[in-house]
């Protein structure tokens, strides 16, 4: 079984090589088949691996020794334990659906083969990230997905703005990576190894002062902030919507951005030593959840709303992590992957039908023309808003319950508020886009068509998953035969923090909390329906906005603040260094050497004046000196 492990990332890598080297000459069908087929193969292998680690035993396979320097030895080896097997399933499963969707979505694109090559490379890197059995392989995959994110965001490279968005994503990621690297260095310094097994054994026996694990945990979290778009390093994700919609679905909703969650969950035993770090994570997560949700409330680009929604949902996942509820966070990762990918792909279907239109103010009444898209989008919206019995309902509710358990009423109230704002903006998005009158151009109306099967089937599969996915981890108190299956499955891989040896909430409190949030969410959805579908009130044009709305629509001017605080000063410093250090100092020295040589040469050649008497005199003087030197 362990010999299958290296095959799982190897298949997408082979797909990358084939499509990358030969894709230009292959027919599009072949490219699409190879690209999707490798992911399907990886998925089937992941299922096999999953079934063999279900009981909690981990399997491991080493390929070769990657690095051997003094006391540091790093292997290129894979680890499949419950946590990584689950992530592998999500990555390859949802990834496969998105690859199939892309066959239809990117069909008319010149760079079709490049797209599939990049997507396969991305899946390869992401698999390395989750399957590695040491921090260096995690970092390898981490950087790889950052690279692929850059390549795919800037896929339509002729547009400079898209290139800038890609660059912004990569740079902000790198800022976080500094924290991650420092954390890894500190881990090596403290525990003497980078392998998970050895590090976590060291953690179990760790007796020294607590600030080192806290520092490590905080540094690793900085890396997670960059990769998973939390405050303050989240601004790249909305800009990343410049990439094709399947990219947004795969990378910026279902997989890459969940790398940070995976990192924290993987290091759960470390975080058990550092409760303060967990507090920081919880605060950051909650703040991001509310902040991003508020911004999403007044965005008018269909993808930007979903982007801010992703940032907000990631905040909720980090809140769960901060509360020590690691399996809850992974549960929400799973359900979020389903419904967010669904929503993004549905948005892609809408954009495809309207020939590239993304502003919801120019949409409307699409549910008649795009029935399948409408129904799946509806399911996705209900799932994310927490409609009872859908997947999002169970995972969000579990997060809220754990928040109440570990944080108390205030935390719960704030978290629930973010949930309500989520329901609001998603309802707004759904109703403005699909209800009411069509507000586009006549040519668009004539070309409105439902997407082809290659795009709608993945949508339907994801919709089904969004509906039933919640039953992976139904809590006991609901008496629905819930088994909390996912929590039990993941338990061998995760370590709960010491303070959370808790009193579970009693059933009555749980019912009460769930009831409040669900009822409020439903009320909000109905209000949104009334406001946007019935009364046909539209998001107004940019010029006519109220001050608060304008603040939200302009994302609280965070980008402008960053530009003022960081980008401009750095550019100034760069220009100054360029002038003083580079042009004046270094070029001065180098060119100065040349000029000195030229000057000396100019002086010396004056000796050659062509005058014979001068030469004769030189000969005589030279001979005299020579003879004279014998007498000295």
């Amino acid at each position: 079984m362990q010999f299958l492990l290296p095959l799982i990332p190897l298949l997408p890598f082979a797909g990358f090589l084939i499509n990358g080297l030969f894709g230009r000459r292959l027919p599009k069908t072949a490219v699409g088949l190879i690209g999707s087929g490798t992911i399907l193969g990886a998925f089937l292998l992941s299922v096999a691996v999953f079934s063999s680690v279900r009981d909690g035993a981990a399997i491991q396979q080493t390929l070769y020794t990657f690095l051997r320097v003094d006391s540091l030895q790093v292997q290129f080896s894979f680890l499949a334990d419950p946590l990584s097997a689950w992530m592998m399933l999500i990555i390859t499963g949802v990834g496969f659906l998105i690859h199939v969707y892309s066959i239809g979505y990117m069909h008319d694109d010149e760079g079709f083969w490049k797209f599939f090559a990049y997507l396969n490379l991305f899946v390869f890197s992401m698999l390395l990230l989750v399957m590695g059995d040491n921090f260096l392989m995690l970092f390898f995959g981490w950087e790889g997905v950052g690279l692929c994110s850059y390549l795919l965001i800037g896929f339509w490279y002729e547009n400079r703005a898209y290139g800038h968005a890609a660059r912004k994503a990569f740079i902000m990621n790198r800022i976080g990576d500094l924290g991650l690297l420092l954390g890894i260095f500190l881990i090596f310094n403290t525990f003497g190894s980078l392998q998970y097994k050895e590090v976590f054994e060291g953690v179990a026996n760790y007796q020294n002062n607590a600030w080192i694990p806290t520092a490590i945990c905080l540094l690793l979290f900085v890396g997670a902030i960059g990769k998973s778009a939390q405050i303050p390093l989240y601004t790249w994700l909305p800009d990343a919507m410049a990439g094709p919609t399947p990219v947004s679905a795969l990378i910026h909703a279902a997989t890459m951005v969940t790398a940070g969650i995976y990192l924290v969950a993987r290091c759960s035993s470390l975080y058990a030593l550092a409760p303060h770090a967990l507090e920081v994570i919880a605060i950051t997560g909650l703040a991001t959840a509310i902040f991003a949700a508020l911004i999403g409330l007044r965005q008018n680009d269909i993808k930007k709303v979903l982007a801010y929604s992703t940032v907000s949902q990631l905040g909720l996942m980090f809140l769960a992590l901060g509360m020590g509820a690691y399996s809850t966070a992974i549960f929400h990762v799973t359900t979020h992957a389903f419904f967010k990918a669904l929503l993004f792909l549905g948005a892609g279907s809408v954009i495809h039908a309207l020939g590239g239109e993304q502003d919801i103010r120019n949409m409307g009444g699409l549910r008649k023309a795009l029935p399948v898209t409408f129904w799946v989008f509806l399911i996705g919206t209900l799932a994310i808003s927490g409609f009872p019995l859908l997947s999002g309902f169970f995972s969000k509710d579990e997060i809220f319950a754990k928040t109440y358990e570990h944080g108390g009423a205030l935390w719960w109230a704030l978290a629930a508020t973010s949930g309500l704002i989520t329901a609001t903006y998603m309802g707004r998005l759904l109703f403005v886009t699909f209800f009411g009158e069509f507000r586009g151009t006549e040519t668009q109306r004539a070309h409105l068509h439902e997407s082809p099967a290659v795009m709608t089937i993945p949508l339907i599969v994801l919709a089904v998953l969004s509906v039933v996915g919640g039953f992976l981890n139904t809590p006991h108190f609901l008496h629905l035969g819930g088994s909390e299956w996912l929590s039990h499955y993941l338990a061998p891989a995760l370590v709960r923090p010491a303070t959370s040896e808790t009193h579970a909430l009693d059933a009555q409190t749980e019912w009460l909390l769930m009831g409040i949030t669900t009822v409020l969410a439903l009320v909000v959805l109905v209000l949104a329906y009334l406001a946007y579908a019935v009364r046909r009130s539209l998001p107004v044009a940019d010029s006519a906005m109220q001050p608060v709305a304008r603040l939200l629509a302009n994302k609280f001017y965070v980008d402008e603040a960053y530009d003022f605080l960081f980008v401009r000063p750095l550019e100034k410093i760069s220009k100054m260094l360029h002038y003083y250090a580079d042009i004046q100092a270094i070029d001065g020295v180098v060119n100065g050497v040349g000029r000195a040589a030229q000057f000396l040469g100019a002086q010396f050649r004056k000796l050659q004046n062509g005058n014979i008497e001068y030469y004769l005199l030189a000969m005589v003087v030279g001979a005299a000196l020579l003879v004279g030197s014998l007498f000295i």
């Binding site: 004056k606 050659q608 062509g610 005058n611 014979i612 004769l616 005589v620």
Partner: protein, 106 residues
Amino acid sequence: MLDIIQTVPIDYFVYLSTLLFGIGVLGVLTRRNAIIVLMCVELMLNAVNLLLAAFSTYLGDAQGQIMVFFIMVVAAAEAAVGLGILVMIYRNTKSTDISLLDNLKY
């Protein structure tokens, strides 16, 4: 024979030879006519010959005179080559003035 020669102290030979050599040097440095310069070079060589012959007699050693032979041979060859070059220069510049030969410069 030696006593007759030795009534003239060796010093005088040295002074004469030095004087002749100096005149030769001055001529080489000062004169502009190439033929005169070559003659002055011969003068320098002969001054040295004189000195060598004088010392050879005073020390009774024949080596000095052997060296004179060698110097004379070389002087003759060098005079032949030098005059050959002079003829070529005259053919090119219609003059024996060495100050006209200043083209090999920067």
